[in-house]
């Protein structure tokens, strides 16, 4: 992924260490392996810290991993959009405040504005709310884009202004109140016992994902044969398939072993007039809806970036804006579209995080912009432009959120968390610079 979004190194002419031959044969980007390694280090580090200090590992438990998966969604969704912004040599500091503002508007909409007309709990409320929220996000993003592209105001300034202005606007909307509780259907989008697909659903999703992985491997092999491009060795294909499926099924196993809390089970038994004892009823959570939203967003964004003209232009603008313009690409209009997309994703994150909190607060999304940018950059998006991947940004979000959750579990307070994440960001970028120099 270093640069060309579709580089395809020939696999059979690489010598060197076992590791580099493995990476070449499987065509796994070594930087991805590095990030996966860092992630495992963080996970096992926190886990064994717990084992050693408290006599009990608390990180690698279904409960924590499930929570981690939900917690990273809001940042992860926005990070996929931030990749496009940064690849085109811009920045968006306003995403956290846009999230807060859109969240507040959506909160008011479903709690105060719509119910008088539709009635509390009307099934259309969440749909209207989400639709209005996403549209608002698009509009705000497009406004950023217009100011940056057509009035030539630096993106840093436009979005720094937005960072302050939208936070202030969110406060004014509700005069500083916290708006809650959100519509019960809307709340499902934030996860939780009811906002998850359950055991059966998770296994179905897992099976479909495995089938898709295997189909994808076969399809790419057939495509390469058709065009006489070099094939990956069969063992590498088999490894990729097995590894991908193991990863998918492993996560299904994890979410299938995190059960509804006792209180909710009790209520469920009462509501359904069951006769089992709450201690004997185990209902698995399965994948939470926000996780599925993140996965779908990441897949769509990957397709957008690697398979469409739009994505190609994003990379071209990042690589050489002048060349892009001379090739007939409307760079300004592209910028507007990219920011509009970023705004929509910030609104989607507003849905996820306000649904998770079941309320819209003034602090919703505060400092998120920093974590989103950190996620994209840790995930290999270059601030010099032209380089970045969606999966990298999602992994970056997972890394920063793992650090955050781990430190919370250990009992570090926010101040220390900020110091650590800040240092990790700097170190990650430094390692990235070294990596790029080496691979040039």
């Amino acid at each position: 992924m270093t640069t060309a979004p579709h580089s395809r190194p020939a696999s059979n002419d690489v010598k060197g260490s076992l590791f580099s031959r493995f990476a070449a044969a499987t065509e796994i980007d070594t930087r991805l392996l590095g990030m996966a390694g860092a992630l495992l280090l963080i996970w096992f580090g926190f886990h064994f810290y717990g084992v050693l200090v408290r006599g009990e590992g608390f990180f690698l438990t279904p409960r924590n991993l499930w929570n981690l998966s939900v917690q990273m969604c809001s940042i992860g969704v926005m990070a996929t959009g931030m990749v496009l912004v940064i690849v085109t040599r811009n920045i968006d500091l306003s995403v956290g405040s846009v999230l807060g503002f859109v969240g507040m508007v959506m909160g008011l909409l479903q709690v105060e504005w719509l119910p008088p007309y539709l009635g509390l709990g009307h099934p259309a409320i969440w749909i209207i709310t989400v639709a209005v929220g996403l549209s608002l996000g698009v509009l705000i993003g497009a406004l950023n884009g217009v100011l940056i592209a057509y009035l030539a105001i630096p993106s840093f300034i436009v979005t720094l202004g937005g960072l302050m202005a939208w936070r202030g606007a969110a406060f004014l909307m509700a005069s500083g109140r916290t708006i809650s509780p959100v519509d019960s259907n809307f709340a499902l989008l934030g996860g939780g016992p009811y906002g998850s697909v359950g055991s059966t659903g998770s296994w179905i999703i897992g099976a479909v994902a495995c089938a898709a992985i295997i189909y994808g491997l076969f399809a790419s092999r057939a495509n390469r044969r058709k065009h006489d491009f070099p094939q990956r060795p069969v063992w590498a294909e088999a490894f990729m398939g097995a590894f991908g499926c193991a990863l998918v099924l492993g996560s299904v196993l994890v979410v299938d072993n995190y059960f509804w809390p006792k209180g909710i089970v009790k209520k469920y038994i009462e509501d359904n007039h069951l006769t089992v004892a709450p201690e004997d009823l185990f209902i698995a959570q399965g994948f939470a809806y926000p996780v599925l939203i993140l996965v779908v967003v990441a897949m769509l964004m990957t397709v957008l970036m690697t398979r469409t003209r739009f994505g190609r232009y994003v990379f071209a603008i990042g690589g050489n804006p002048e060349a892009a313009a001379l090739s007939g690409i409307n760079v300004r209009w592209m910028t507007v579209k990219i920011y509009a997309l970023m705004g929509m994703l910030a609104a989607l994150s507003a849905v996820i995080s306000s649904a998770r909190l079941t309320s819209a607060t003034n602090a919703l999304g505060q400092t998120d912009e920093l974590y989103v940018i950190a996620a994209a950059v840790i995930g290999g998006t270059s601030l010099a432009g032209g380089v970045g991947t969606i999966y990298g940004a999602v992994l970056g979000a997972l890394v920063t959120e793992s650090l955050r959750t781990g430190m919370v579990l250990i009992g570090f307070d926010t101040a220390v968390q900020n110091i650590v994440v800040g240092l990790v960001l700097i170190v990650a970028v430094y390692l990235d610079i070294i990596y790029r120099k080496r691979t040039k």
Binding site: T3, H6, S7, R307, T308, A323, L326, S327, V387
Partner: protein, 251 residues
């Protein structure tokens, strides 16, 4: 010598940047199957003039006529739709894209479902590069990994691939060795016989004498004059470039 309607006429073109008149009331033309050299010192305004034809700049005043009809070229897209292709002095390549990515930039081949057809674009790129630069192998790396000559051949391939009728080449051999320069010369001659009109910005006076039918000389944004290359000597042209005056005998 040339009769009939010119393929391109740039009439009375002017463009200024701040106070600098980069191009000052310049008129040039180009006929099918003809190579017109654009000469002049650095900063004379050659690149700026052709950028008014390629859509990179919008002239402050003046007209552009294609086959006798006035056209408006407001952006590079307009120029491309008039079958005008340009090799820029800066090459204008996106360093992070592959050769195929650059060749098809802005004109990507897509499948029936609207997705990029990478395989087809790479196959086409292999074909055209096989013709222009048979030693070229680096199809799967970003062009930042290419040598100057290889980059230049990608830029040339991009201009030639799309069946241009009007070709603008701004110092196309600047980064090339003698062998590659020879290949570009042959390419220009081949394209000329196919009936293309070519504006060639070139510093090497021998190449000008060999390749061009006419030469237009600029100095300080103004046109010094246009001469038929076979009616003058290289010294005549050099003195036009240096002194900014047309030789008396080639009026």
């Amino acid at each position: 010598m040339n009769t009939g309607t010119p393929l391109v006429e740039m009439r009375d073109i002017s463009i200024a940047f701040g106070g600098i008149k980069a191009v000052d009331h310049v008129t040039i033309d180009l006929y099918p199957g003809e190579v017109v050299g654009l000469l002049g010192h650095n900063g004379a305004g050659k690149s700026t003039l052709i950028k008014c034809l390629s859509g990179a700049y919008n002239a402050d005043s003046g007209q552009v006529l294609i086959n006798g009809n006035e056209v408006e070229i407001k952006n590079p897209r307009d120029a491309r739709s008039q079958n005008i292709e340009t090799i820029y002095q800066t090459l204008a390549l996106a360093d992070n894209l592959t050769a195929a990515g650059n060749l098809f930039l802005g004109r990507e081949l897509v499948s029936s479902r609207g997705f990029l057809d990478e395989s087809a674009m790479e196959a086409e790129t292999r074909k055209i590069m096989g013709r222009l630069n048979p030693n070229f192998r680096k199809f799967n790396v970003p062009v930042s990994a290419l040598s100057g000559g290889q980059r230049q051949s990608v830029a040339i391939a991009r201009a030639v691939y799309f069946n241009a009728k009007i070709l603008i080449m701004d110092e196309p051999t600047a980064a090339l060795g003698p062998h590659e320069t020879q290949m570009v010369s042959e390419l220009i001659q081949e394209l000329k016989t196919q009936g293309l009109g070519i504006f060639l910005i070139e510093h090497d006076i021998h190449n000008v004498m060999k390749l061009c039918d006419r030469a237009s000389v600029m100095k300080n944004g103004q046109l010094v004059g246009t001469v038929n290359v076979n009616e003058v000597t290289d010294e005549d042209i050099l003195s036009m470039i240096i002194l900014g005056k047309k030789p008396a005998k080639a009026a």
